[in-house]
Symmetry: C2
Subunit: 457 residues, 2 copies
């Protein structure tokens, strides 16, 4: 089909939306290593996981045999409010770059939570409701996950308790208010509402909190409250499963116009977006049906894939969650304070880690000034103000398109535009004022994190 | 066609997007009164207007004979980046309200400027570029217009100078940074950069500015700078013309599914959104082809249609712009400080004023607590966090749907959802904290405004 006929935005019809999620692990010849119970160092059981997560989600977490899992009608109904999301042909960007490459992006920011996080939030809220729970607890740092979960809980009339890293709670009052508008209760962490919070406050009275601490509080709150479970927005297998809706829609949209991507690019913090976007493409790659270059992009200041170790580690800084075999900087790793965007997780989804370890995926790290240059360029040309996280993928997409300009290759590049940057204007302000700087940790800087790795292997 | 077949979101194909704007005035039997030169009290000439506006826009401003005006391909290309906008069936809201009414909303918030303002901004920037200008000046209060214009100017590589009411500049730093990210220069008004600004600062050293003052500075800057013109985001005929794209898309989308609306609702400040949304429907109504109930919704605290006078008045508080015959509270009217949203303009588009005066349109005023109740309800059910301005229309749409519940009538309601509220979380915070109050001016409160009306009629 000729270029002329490809619209700026490819929207699927409602009936073309996926009715099943795709569980990539079922098609992986080499499965990711199982989660371990940190006390016994044995694979966690469904029963153990069900104490923390809803039963159905715990089952999804452990399921590496069913390739397709039905999306319940109630979730599909919610999806229809903001999905299908558009696959956009970046004609204007291509023109500006004068590249022969064809650039597409799957835009997940067209919902109030402002990101792809809603795809999993609504699923997790649904299963919690189905199980008859009163509510869920979670933590949020930058706030995208907390916002998405509060929207999802409001829809199912479920209580939503969010522990928000104190520094974000104070610096991002608007994020907080969106969550409150959706009826969530938002507690700055560390707080007096949990035992672990009180202990931390006693030890570090002036602390502004950390994601690890917020996770610990949220988990404690869930397991000590009748009718509550804990939910998480990234890293987990269940999250990648729900996010497969991104990749499935992308693939259907491309196939409608006989487009075959050469390169697929996504930003990677815990891996929720990247894992979802690439899943059906990776499935074909694993089966030998087609080859794609797949690139994970991470910040140079938090380089788990490119400089981390492939080892069993705690999923949380508080070291209360199961152990996962993954690329990790160590659960004791603290990202630099100058780091503006999200993607500041010490580890990486075990599935993505395995794929990377087996050479099925590339990884690249980028510095934040270059990321904000790409973000600003993209905003001005394509009209969407991207989230700093998403802009990591934009940076590499532009770099690849510029390589095509040099070589004359007409490659087709697809990247995930996970969300919008409306609540990240403080970082943009820093960039606009020329006050943003880069930070690449030295090997010595990484040592304390690696020292925190548990002795398992 | 049965209900079941109507999707949640009706997206037009690119080839179904309008190729011409619709100029409602051409079809009005009774034309709106002409703009007057305040010095001569004679209708303004094209030459006079061309000193302030681009020539092509001045021509559009005065054109009440051509019903259709071609949308230049360059503008249509930009439109394709974020349009067509979806017409959404509010199934979830209907269900929650248990109403037999069918509710649709045309959602204009899916672009970085966050509102419909971009539809006219890109047109005005295009004509400025075509005329060979270096740049444009404008004012912004809440910031939607300034954001849209900065995006449009960035696209056409045009300098954009925004005078932002000082209190907004300080209280809405994120809005400011979006404009700067798009390359605009943003000056808090009043400023030292203009004669009128310096005079005001001398007289009122501590002032936090007003829209009227910012308009005066922007106009002075434009007429005293080589290669610059002034642009405005509402009230004017040219703006309503460009915004007709909203109504034309809405009508095409409805017709695709044989849907005929009974009631069309829009919020109204200066009238840019309402005028655009209703134009093709009003055209049919005027020609007697079909009848529609059309409702303009304004804040009770700034009630130009419901409590204003139909008279010639200045378009700006600084009294430098032409006189327009409109419903007005007087250019000296100052909206209450407790007023949280936009829609705080003293007057109203002359076209809409005429239609209202001739009984072709209804108007209703609503109080802001009720507006934020509707906004929060809508956000929780439909998943979109609406702008306070848009929420005025939501309030009345819900009220009308609840009336249908009482009477059992299956009316079809269409309303304009002009934008998102991401930059209005301070107002939501006030509401969430129970600190929002209502204000309805007494007749005495309105007296000073009416006293400022020029002696013309």
């Amino acid at each position: 089909m000729s270029n002329q006929k490809i619209p700026y935005k490819i929207y699927l019809e409602e009936q073309e939306m996926p009715k099943q999620w795709y569980n990539l692990r079922a098609d992986m010849k080499e499965k990711p290593e199982p989660l371990l119970n940190p006390a016994t160092l044995q694979p966690v059981t469904l029963e153990e996981l069900s104490g923390i997560f809803c039963k159905e989600l715990a089952m999804q977490e452990l399921n590496d045999t069913d390739a397709y899992i039905d999306i319940p009608e109630e979730i599909r109904k919610f999806y229809r409010m903001y999905r299908p999301s558009p696959l956009v042909r970046a004609y204007c960007l291509e023109e500006k770059l004068k590249t022969p490459a064809k650039i597409y992006y799957k835009f997940e920011g067209n919902n109030t939570s402002g990101s792809h996080k809603l795809n999993s939030a609504i699923a997790q809220a649904y299963y919690a409701k189905k199980q008859g729970l009163k509510g869920v607890t979670t933590e949020t740092g930058a706030g995208q996950w907390g916002t998405a979960l509060s929207m999802a809980c409001s829809y199912f009339d479920l209580d939503c308790q969010v522990y928000m890293v104190k520094v974000s709670y104070e610096q991002k009052p608007f994020r907080r208010e969106v969550m409150r508008t959706y009826g969530a209760s938002v507690t700055p962490s560390p707080s007096e509402t949990t035992k672990v919070g009180r202990e931390i406050l006693k030890e570090h009275p002036g602390t502004t909190g950390s994601l690890g601490c917020a996770i610990s509080e949220a988990v404690e709150k869930a397991v000590t409250s009748e009718g509550y479970r804990y939910v998480l927005g990234s890293v987990l297998n269940q999250v990648l499963l729900h996010q497969s809706v991104i990749g499935l829609e992308t693939k259907t949209a491309l196939e409608k116009y006989d487009i075959v991507p050469d390169i697929i690019i996504g930003c990677a913090g815990g891996g929720s977006n990247l894992g979802g976007l690439i899943s059906p493409f990776m499935g074909e790659k694993i089966k030998g049906k087609r080859d794609y270059r797949i690139i994970a992009v991470e910040p140079a200041s938090c380089p788990s894939l490119t400089r981390g170790k492939y080892a069993y580690d705690f999923c949380d800084t508080g070291r209360v969650c199961p152990l996962s075999k993954m690329y990790t900087l160590g659960s004791g790793f603290i990202p630099s304070a100058n780091h503006a965007g999200g993607l500041r997780y010490h580890g990486m989804s075990s599935t993505l880690s395995k794929l990377y370890h087996d050479g099925l995926m590339e990884a690249r790290s980028v510095e934040q000034t270059a990321v904000f240059e790409a973000a600003t360029q993209f905003a001005r040309i394509e009209g969407i103000l991207p989230a700093p996280e998403s802009s990591h993928a934009i940076r590499v997409a532009i770099d690849e398109a510029l390589k095509c300009k040099e070589t004359g290759e007409e490659k087709t590049i697809v990247f995930g535009l996970t969300g919008t940057g409306y609540f990240d204007m403080m970082a943009y302000e820093k960039f606009n004022n020329g006050e943003m700087s880069d930070y690449i940790p030295t090997d010595d800087d990484l040592k304390p994190g690696f020292a925190s790795l548990p002795k398992v292997d």
